[in-house]
């Protein structure tokens, strides 16, 4: 039954408690691991032991676990939200969990670790600053542990925790833990990541929120202590200033401002800035908020900037500091994680959204696929759901970007299928590519001959695309690559006719009558 606390603190004591509560910072983390690793049990315990779980939720769970798991509380039922999942006994999507300690508030993106759920892991990791990879002490480092660690590093998470779970089932043996640490270090090799390794038992509670007397050989902080003390948010603050414009704010003649969230860096009134893509230079006049003008604004703050000069700015433009310029290009090389059941179509057009900018783009080539278990580069013609590849994308409007490794906001994008509106891919920008050597230097021409469509392939070593020629747009002649609409129309027609063009590896020069 609900009741007030029995021992009421003095009101000024409570006031100081309240101030401390309001000043807590926030850590977003993601977890990955399969059911067998005890991930849900670990999260359930973090929530439970930190009193994030209320009594009646617990009662509901105790009711639901009858018949599945008699006896002890099944912590995983606290986190497996949807009915379909409860029936299947696996977590199939990303779920967000919240708990707080007196030091910090935590948001957990809880993602399943099964191979087919790479997309969920990537989604969960995209907003996180720390990932917990769970390893079953009995099994050691499995392919999926490598996968989790790779995704955490790919998504640029500054912190990685490797929690070696089920230590109780290996007799709390230090040598088991040490050998897993060794294997992990070897796998990570020269990557920049230095994980924090902690031996735990989620079920028994060892080293989760209190240090374990069963493992006196381990003297590091327990998992929660580590999570409470790891520094957050430092990196983006010291990066160059980037401000993607969300909206132009013009309530009356006297005010013109640009609303957005600072992606990185800091800004003060009087600082010189450049507006991209126009390249116009001006200075910041004021930083406006509902709570008054600010003397400065830093990464993650949602503000409205007014500029000293009248500059033509629209949503999607980026206001930047003058020190380090971002790149600007139509030709983007990116690591792409394919999220949709319908595979990527080479040559297909997608909507691309990066920061606040939308454009259309064409998937020009797949350079190689990354085998997520071995990290080997493999050549491929197709990209299926949960696969990761390095690709070349050509955008209709130039993109202002930084490499993802240096800026997670200006270096990321999503692809949207214009027909279904599904979010089909997540992109991490590596840089721009040399347009000369990419897929669209390869050409085909088409003509109607005796009522048949004849496609002539030129320059076959670079795969298919549409011919470029001086006399673009000729009815039967070659089409210029610039003529995107015509390319689209032709490709659409070919798809409707269920005709696939010869692809990269086996295409040969010559005429194809269709």
């Amino acid at each position: 039954m609900a009741s007030t606390t029995s021992t009421l603190p003095e009101s000024d004591l409570f006031e100081s408690f309240l101030q401390a509560e309001k000043a807590k910072d926030l850590l977003r983390l993601s977890t990955a691991g399969s059911v067998d690793d005890g991930k849900s049990t670990l999260i359930g315990r973090l929530l439970y032991d930190s009193r994030g779980i209320y009594e009646d939720q617990l009662e509901a769970v105790t009711k639901a676990s009858v018949g599945r798991n008699a006896g002890a509380i099944d912590f995983s039922l606290l986190t497996d939200g949807l009915r379909a999942e409860r029936e299947q006994g696996i977590t199939i999507d990303v779920a967000y969990r919240y708990f707080a300690t007196p030091k910090r508030k935590f948001i957990i993106a809880d993602t399943p670790g099964h191979e087919q759920y790479t997309r969920n892991m990537v989604t969960g990791a995209s907003t996180a600053e720390l990932a917990i990879v769970l390893v079953d002490a009995r099994n050691g480092m499995l392919p999926q542990s490598r996968r989790h660690a790779y995704i955490a590093s790919l998504l640029g998470l500054p912190n990685l925790v490797v929690a070696v779970n089920k230590m109780d089932l290996v007799g709390y043996d230090q040598s088991v833990f040490d050998s897993i640490v060794r294997d992990f270090r070897q796998f990570l090799g020269e990557s920049r990541i230095e994980p924090y390794f902690v031996p735990i038992s989620a079920l028994a509670g060892d080293n989760v929120v209190s240090s374990s007397s069963n493992m006196p050989w381990f003297d590091g902080p327990n998992l929660l202590e580590y999570l409470e003390n790891v520094p957050v948010g430092g990196r983006t603050r010291h990066a160059p200033f980037r401000f993607p414009v969300q909206r132009v704010v013009r309530p009356n003649q006297d005010f013109r401002g640009y609303a957005g969230t600072v992606a990185s860096g800091e800004i003060q009134p009087g600082d010189p800035v450049i507006v991209l893509p126009s390249g116009r230079r001006t200075t910041v006049q004021s930083i406006t908020t509902f709570d008054g003008d600010l003397p400065r604004a830093a990464a993650s703050e949602a503000v409205t900037l007014s500029l000293a000069d009248e500059v033509d700015i629209i949503r999607g433009d980026v206001i930047i500091g003058v020190d380090e310029l971002p790149q600007q290009s139509h030709a983007i090389e990116a690591t792409l994680v394919w999220l949709n059941a319908a595979p990527a179509q080479l040559g297909a057009r997608y909507r691309i959204k990066s920061g606040t900018r939308q454009s259309t783009c064409t998937l020009n080539s797949i350079e190689y696929r990354i085998n997520i278990n071995t990290l080997a580069h493999e050549s491929t013609r197709a990209l299926e759901m949960n696969e990761i590849a390095v690709v070349h994308i050509e955008t209709a409007r130039p993109l202002v970007f930084d490499p993802y490794d240096t800026n997670r906001t200006t270096g990321s994008f999503i692809l949207i299928d214009p027909a279904t509106n599904a979010t089909v891919a997540a992109g991490l920008i590596r840089g721009s590519y040399d347009e000369g050597r990419s897929g669209h230097s390869a050409q085909f021409e088409w003509r109607i001959e005796d009522g048949s469509l004849v496609v002539s392939l030129r320059n076959s070593n670079a795969g298919f695309s549409v011919a470029s020629s001086e006399d673009s747009g000729a009815e039967n002649g070659p089409l210029a690559i610039e003529d995107i609409e015509a390319v689209d129309a032709l490709q659409h027609l070919l798809r409707r006719l269920r005709i696939s063009l010869p692809d990269r590896a086996d295409s040969e020069e010559g005429d194809y009558t269709i």
């Binding site: 989604t123 949602a302 999503i414």
Partner: protein
């Protein structure tokens, strides 16, 4: 430099979401339910668009069973902020005698909330409905997206949600389809109260404890605002109590409480071991009932 607290971090995230809706959706509307979360939503919307006005109307789905204090607060506060308020009621169902006792809570909610909401959205031609739901409220909400897609019938398919990465939101819909947008997704009940306290945000007086007439039935305190079937010999008593969440009066129980100020409410919450929707009768109809309601179009 002001400290970068979790509240400021949540505030900035919500403002970003509001601005994305306003920039990319054709006809957004803010679903205003008068409760504490709605009050926080309004403050965040003010902040998101300052110094401009909030660029969309509010829509209140009135079941006809709301507390009078809620309706008074709604009319006063929205007028004070100069906002456009649309009130939608399923009058046909009310004329047919819709009430939770005769119809059962599931059918009553279906008619007065879900159907009424879908009708209200359709009539206004809204393609994005901004709501105050939080992921910590209920199990199935933990997997809800910030921009949550609804098909032409307003329904949610939990197994086919758009992946949501970074803070890059996919707002694309075809005609007739729509989005539900939840700027408070990552807020907890405690965050909401702390923010109300920090920002001095007006809320309905029902949240504060005072002596109110209640039917005491077992552990439950039932408000007698609307006629409610009584057990033999049952008489209302004055009880020091407050509402922890606000819904329809026949389906929202009060809790015993002495908390008549914001710090006292927060203090109470620290010691509280029950989640806030626990007093909402409607969630308990069947296991997973919120998930079923949501699939049908409920918020």
């Amino acid at each position: 430099m002001r400290p970068w607290s979790h509240l400021r971090s949540l505030e900035a995230e919500s403002i970003h979401i509001f601005r994305e809706v306003a920039a990319e959706c054709q006809r957004p509307v803010l679903l205003y339910s008068i409760g504490k979360d709605s009050s926080v939503l309004l403050r965040l919307a003010q902040k998101a668009f300052y110094p401009g006005p909030i660029p969309f109307p509010l829509l209140h789905i009135d079941t006809g069973y709301k507390f009078k204090e809620m309706i008074d607060f709604r009319d006063r506060y929205t007028a004070e902020l100069g906002l456009k308020l649309i009130v939608h009621k399923n009058q046909a169902a009310l004329d047919d005698g819709a009430n939770p006792f005769a119809w059962g809570t599931q059918r009553c909610c279906g008619a007065l909330k879900t159907t009424s909401l879908l009708d209200g959205l359709r009539e206004g031609g809204f393609d994005a409905a901004i709501g105050g739901a939080r992921r910590d409220e209920e199990r199935s909400r933990a997997k809800e997206r910030v921009f949550s897609f609804r098909d032409k019938r307003g329904q949610w398919d939990p197994r086919n949600q758009r992946p949501e990465l970074w803070n890059v939101f996919n707002t694309q819909v075809h005609p007739g389809e729509s989005l539900r947008v939840f700027p408070l997704s990552n807020w907890t009940e405690m965050d909401v109260w702390q923010y109300i306290h920090a920002e001095n945000i007006p809320i309905v007086p029902l949240y504060f404890a005072k002596p109110r007439p209640m039917l005491v039935r077992g552990d439950s305190l039932l408000p007698i605002e609307q006629p409610i079937p009584r057990l033999p010999g049952e008489e209302p008593k004055m009880v020091m109590c407050r509402m922890r969440s606000l819904g329809c009066s026949p389906c929202t129980g009060a809790i015993y409480s002495e908390a008549d100020t914001l710090p006292k409410i927060i203090e109470e919450l620290v010691g509280m071991r029950r989640s806030e929707r626990q007093n909402r009768v409607i969630d308990h109809d069947q296991d997973g009932s919120m998930e079923i309601k949501k699939q049908e179009g409920y918020f």
